[in-house]
């Protein structure tokens, strides 16, 4: 008991680091139009492939250098964060809501509701997700809404499965029987007894899903299925940077680093929140 407590004190650092990065990113995304040093779309063919500020031949106006068309890398990363975070937030929350509600119903109410939902999840998961996504985008057309719909449609099963299993094991606990003993309704029990006990899992899955959404958005941009090619997206930048990695590594590396830290932070944030706010673990 003591041991686990001593252990779970530490994740404060994890929470601070991941939360800190996400906060910075959110601020950057919100303030991008005002804090970006340049227009992310403005090309300057005379200032193409400028290195970042510490290298020889850098232009101090372009901190993180420019790409082959002379567009400012920093400004494009900041604006790219807008799309990444919007997709992460909307897709994450929608996926979470749909999946968690269905999972809760299946796991707690059982019976035919469970039968229908579980079969649906099984069938759904039989589709290869990448193919599914590309198919969906092909049907829906490119654009942010399509990306979000694709993520929700593909990933709700992840929530449904995990939350169903969790709700099912909670339903067998005597505190659920005890709620019935005192006359709490089925729905009231699901809301006030079961939900607080699956909430830590939901939060961890939600932040994980946000990280996944960022990756999916980047992948779709990378294969040019996201929004218009001009618009600054991390995936699009990585795709462009890849072609000129020997001449201008910074075009590839900086958005890649931003992507990496963001996905990592999202997955760590969930765990950190769980350790910090869950009374049972604390």
């Amino acid at each position: 008991m003591r041991d686990t407590r001593a252990h779970s004190r530490k994740p404060g650092l994890r929470l601070w680091l991941s939360g800190g990065w996400i906060t910075i990113l959110v601020l950057a995304a919100l303030l991008a139009p005002w804090i970006s040093p340049h227009d992310p779309l403005a090309q300057d063919l005379f200032a193409g492939r400028m290195p970042p500020f510490w290298q020889a031949g850098a232009d101090p106006n372009y901190w993180l250098g420019t790409d082959s068309l002379g567009r400012d890398v920093l400004s494009r990363i900041l604006h790219g964060a807008r799309l990444a975070l919007t997709v992460a937030l909307i897709a994450g929350v929608l996926t979470c809501l749909i999946g968690a509600i269905l999972g809760l119903i299946a796991g707690y109410y059982g019976g035919w509701a469970d039968l229908v939902i579980s079969r649906l999840v099984d069938i759904w998961m039989a589709f290869p997700p990448v193919l599914f996504a590309i198919l969906l985008i092909a049907v829906l057309g490119t654009g942010m809404t399509s990306i979000i719909i694709a993520i929700v449609v593909i990933d709700w099963t992840r929530f449904a499965r995990v939350i169903r299993a969790e709700a099912m094991s909670q339903s067998k606990m005597d505190y659920v029987a005890s709620a019935q003993v005192v006359g709490r309704s089925r729905f009231g029990t699901a809301l006030t007894e079961i939900l607080p006990n699956v909430l830590p899992t939901i939060v961890a899955l939600l932040t994980l899903e946000m990280g996944i959404a960022v990756i999916v958005e980047a992948i779709l941009s990378f294969v040019n299925l996201s929004i218009s090619t001009d618009a600054p997206t991390w995936g699009g930048m990585i795709a462009e940077g890849r072609t000129s990695v020997h001449q201008a590594w910074w075009v590839l590396v900086f958005p890649l680093v931003a992507l990496f830290f963001t996905v990592l932070s999202f997955s760590q944030l969930g765990e950190g929140l769980k350790d910090h706010f869950d009374p049972v673990l604390r």
Partner: protein
């Protein structure tokens, strides 16, 4: 009839046997309770004893209608509750309560003790909830400050006291206690049993106390129901049962009780 809380006639209950379920069609049913008839008078502490799997918990859960019997009749204070729906049961639920075997499972781990005791009170629309919570904690001998603790911050015995506090806070007419000391160490067992004895006396509780351990039952109960494979094989006053057990199974149970002073056997 007003001196009888429970009047049970020919109670039968079965569960579907999923292990022998055919691919199509319903599973065959195993009969767990095979026609039980007995009464629980007001103020009595009834012991229900029997081996593991004899149907003690199933009987208890049928009494407070956590499960619905197949047939027979359960009258609670003159009201037939055998097949009553959950909506109709709700106002009655306050009057029969339960203490569970494992408090770690029966207390919601993400609620504070105060909330665990107050929840049922609020649900049943009672007044003066704070005062009632404090009173319940006093009665089970827990410090009032424990109201802000979580279950995992308590010892096993303290947790079981919270389970008792939750049940008595509603001031029920009847309490079912299902193996409530089996999970505790010996000294906590004694303390919880003492507490229960005091509460029975002070509150005039009617109690059904389920246990597989006759020595625990002997101490607390005025009457004992012996269950064997879903049937009542003996229903007698405690003193009579210990003096002249009639059913062979009861004799077997009695011979399994450890002697009070084992030294005497050896010297």
């Amino acid at each position: 009839m007003s001196d009888v809380i429970y009047d049970v006639k020919d109670l039968r209950l079965s569960f579907p046997d999923m292990s022998r379920k055919p691919i199509l069609g319903p599973a065959p049913r195993i009969e767990i309770l095979k026609g039980l008839t007995f009464q629980i008078p007001k103020g009595e502490v009834l012991g229900i004893v029997g081996g593991s799997g004899s149907g003690k918990s199933t009987l208890g859960r049928a009494l407070i209608r956590l499960i619905e019997p197949d047939s027979g009749q359960i009258d609670f204070e003159g009201t037939d509750i055998t097949h009553m729906g959950e909506e109709d049961l709700r106002p009655l639920r306050r009057r029969f309560q339960m203490i569970f075997q494992d408090p770690l499972s029966s207390l919601n781990p993400r609620r504070r003790v105060g909330g665990i005791i107050a929840g049922p009170l609020r649900l049943q629309g009672l007044e003066g909830i704070d005062a009632r919570v404090k009173e319940a904690l006093d009665m089970v001998g827990l410090p009032r400050a424990f109201a802000s603790r979580y279950p995992h911050e308590l010892s096993g015995g303290q947790r079981q006291r919270v389970g008792i506090a939750r049940a008595i806070a509603l001031r029920p007419d009847f309490i079912l206690a299902d193996e409530i000391v089996s999970g505790l160490d010996v000294s906590s067992q004694a303390q919880v049993l003492n507490l229960l004895e005091d509460l029975v006396r002070e509150l005039g509780l009617t109690l059904a106390f389920i246990s597989h351990d006759l020595s625990v039952i002997r101490r607390l109960c005025s009457r004992i129901l012996v269950l064997y494979q879903g049937e009542i094989v003996e229903n007698a006053a405690t003193a009579d049962l210990f003096a002249t057990p009639t059913a062979p199974y009861t004799q077997e149970l009695l011979s399994a009780i450890p002697l009070p002073d084992p030294d005497q056997v050896w010297v």
